[in-house]
């Protein structure tokens, strides 16, 4: 009897803590949306109102028409799709080779590929700037796509390798006996079976390239090429728009929404993508 009431008390505490942390983690995000819906007259009140009265969409209109955030969202989309289009097709055959072939220095190569993840991205900014400069890729999407690809490849290879590992070799050998070439067996048998891996890898890649801030800030100069985080940063510093909190928050909210939605819909794959490489299943 005493044991059960102690257990119930413990569970109450757990729920209380969970609610507390839910507020801690969700409030700032809700706050962003709240500010983006506030009329200008309520932006500079102290203490601030929690609920905008009445909520207005004016800030969003301003952010699309006067700031032109649509252009920046489009740039982010190109960078993201570009990275996806390079990173996934490049990592699949590499993962396939590491999973289904036996060759010399295989484990060294695998560790080496994973090890590149440990190379800090930010410290690479200076040498990468110099490398892009010599390839004449500064201020270009292509240069950024290469950088993003290099950052996402190790984890994508690891995710796909995990899926290839679970597919029995017999299936693959049967295809060869039936006269498939190596490439055909990869294309028609293996790839369809790793589609779930594709989802996890894609989510990870999309998120990484969509939210990147310091890299494009450093490597892009032309106003019309800026992805959304860099553009929002520039508005914050500009003397005219910098004081228009409402419009800046509307821009940030619009830019965050796609990934928030993707996350809510494909949560399972997201988590798999984030924890891959560290946790073996």
């Amino acid at each position: 009897m005493i044991f059960y009431s102690a257990e119930r008390f413990y569970r109450k505490i757990v729920y209380l803590l969970l609610f507390f942390f839910t507020i801690f983690f969700l409030f700032p995000i809700l706050w962003m949306f709240i500010i983006s819906l506030k009329p200008v007259s309520q932006l500079y009140r102290f203490p601030p109102h929690i609920i905008p009265r009445p909520p207005v969409l004016k800030n969003y209109v301003y952010s699309f028409i006067n700031i032109g955030i649509g252009r920046n969202l489009f740039n982010s989309l190109i960078l993201t799709l570009g990275t996806l289009a390079v990173s996934i097709p490049v990592s699949i055959p590499a993962a396939y080779a590491l999973s289904k072939f036996r060759f010399r220095f295989q484990s060294v190569l695998l560790l080496g590929i994973l090890g590149t993840q440990m190379i800090p991205g930010m410290a690479s900014l200076v040498p990468l700037f110099d490398i892009l400069k010599s390839f004449k890729l500064l201020d270009s999407f292509i240069g950024l796509i290469f950088i993003y690809t290099a950052r996402t490849l190790p984890l994508n290879i690891w995710i796909f390798k995990g899926f290839f590992d679970t597919i029995p070799n017999d299936l693959f050998e049967a295809a060869l006996v039936d006269g498939c070439t190596q490439f055909q067996s990869m294309r028609y048998i293996m790839v369809p079976l790793v589609l779930p891996g594709m989802a996890a890898a894609s989510m990870f890649t999309i998120m990484q390239s969509w939210i990147e801030f310091i890299v494009p800030l450093t490597m892009l100069f032309s106003e019309e090429k800026l992805p959304f985080p860099v553009a929002v940063y520039k508005f914050m510093g500009s003397p005219i728009m910098g004081t228009n909190y409402g419009a800046i928050f509307a821009s940030a909210a619009v830019g965050s929404l796609p990934i928030l939605m993707l996350f809510i819909i494909f949560q399972r794959y997201f988590i798999k993508g984030l924890t891959a490489g560290a946790v073996k299943e």
Binding site: R11, V14, L18, F21, T22, F24, F25, P28, I29, W31, M32, Y44, F46, P48, V90, A94, Y96, A97, F101, F103, Q106, M118, I119, P120, M122, A123, S124, L125, V126, P127, L128, D130, I131, F146, T149, A150, L153, Q182, M207, I211, F213, I214, T218, P229, V230, V232, M236, I248, A252, S256, I259, L260, F263, I264, Q267, I271, T275, A278, V279, K280
Partner: protein, 295 residues
């Protein structure tokens, strides 16, 4: 004979593109950083002068460099400790048996991680605002005088924003590792009369040994190298109080246009990363690593 030779080449061909991209954009930059650090070069000028190790001797007598080391130590130390223990705490909460609404709680905790560093910093910039920020509104309601958070509390403020964003990662890693602990262990402990706390310290924590090491290495490296939030919230200020080494490197290379000195700082960061990784492996024991490689 031919077929066998082709078989040998196939894996290399399949990996070729991946290896080339990684070589050019992940591995070569490390060497390039070292090469650049030997030159005196501006950001966009063509002429460069070889100066040998001069940048390094400048570095060793640069008070701002030592200041950035101190700031990094505080920022990374604070962030890593909070992220690891908060992650562990949240993972433990989420692992409580038969909880209702667990998916909702977990999703709420993860959401910040899907935001751009810029958005995270922007939101917290507004929360911390000394004139009409919501934190001061809250503090004021409690009867405490309003604070200038980003001036008088700059370092704790950037650490909190950083942990709000990054603790998820630790939570996810540790939670999925906890799921892998066999339930029989807990059942046996219960039969033996072990309390919840005893179970946590005798079963859960030891089982998380390897994941904890990996997690700590990853978040330490991530924190040392991430400065997007600092960049927006304080830009290293006030009076260089939050001038973490990444921030200092960026300012030298891209604001003061001194690419050679920026590269020198980058080399120092690379070396620190290696030392820190080795230190963790040393502390946790080499066996931890071996246990992870065999699959």
């Amino acid at each position: 004979m031919h077929a066998e030779k082709a078989m040998k080449k196939t894996p290399i061909l399949l990996m070729l593109l991946a290896l080339l991209i990684l070589a050019a954009f992940s591995i070569y930059p490390v060497f390039n950083a070292f090469r650049l650090s030997l030159f005196d070069m501006g950001l966009l000028q063509r002429e460069v002068t070889f100066v040998g190790l001069k940048n390094y001797s400048v570095l060793l007598s640069d008070p701002l460099f030592y200041n950035s080391l101190k700031a990094t130590l505080l920022f990374a130390g604070g962030s890593v400790a909070i992220q690891y223990f908060l992650g562990l705490f949240l993972a433990t909460l989420l692992s409580t048996q038969d909880l209702k609404g667990i998916r909702f709680f977990r999703s709420s905790f993860i959401l910040p991680y899907t935001l751009s560093e810029l958005v995270v910093a922007l939101v917290w910039l507004h929360i911390y605002d000394s004139n009409f920020g919501v934190l001061n509104g809250f503090v004021n309601a409690l009867g405490v005088p309003v604070q200038r958070w980003l001036f008088d509390w700059a370092m704790p403020a950037v650490i909190v924003a950083n942990c709000w964003w990054g603790s998820t990662f630790s939570m996810l890693l540790l939670e999925s590792a906890m799921k892998g602990i066999p339930a029989e262990l807990y059942e046996a402990a219960k039969v033996d009369g072990a309390s919840g706390l005893q179970q946590f310290f005798k079963i859960t924590l030891p089982s998380l040994h390897y994941v904890s090491m990996l997690n700590l290495i990853m978040i330490t490296l991530l924190t040392i190298n991430a400065f997007g939030i600092v960049f927006v919230l304080t830009f290293g200020g006030p009076q260089n109080a939050t001038d973490v080494i990444g921030m200092y490197m960026w300012r030298n290379a891209f604001r003061f246009m001194d690419l050679g000195y920026g590269a020198t700082l980058a080399v120092v960061i690379f070396i620190f990363n290696i030392i820190i990784t080795l230190l963790y492996i040393r502390v946790f024991g080499k066996e931890t690593l071996k246990g992870s490689v065999s699959k």
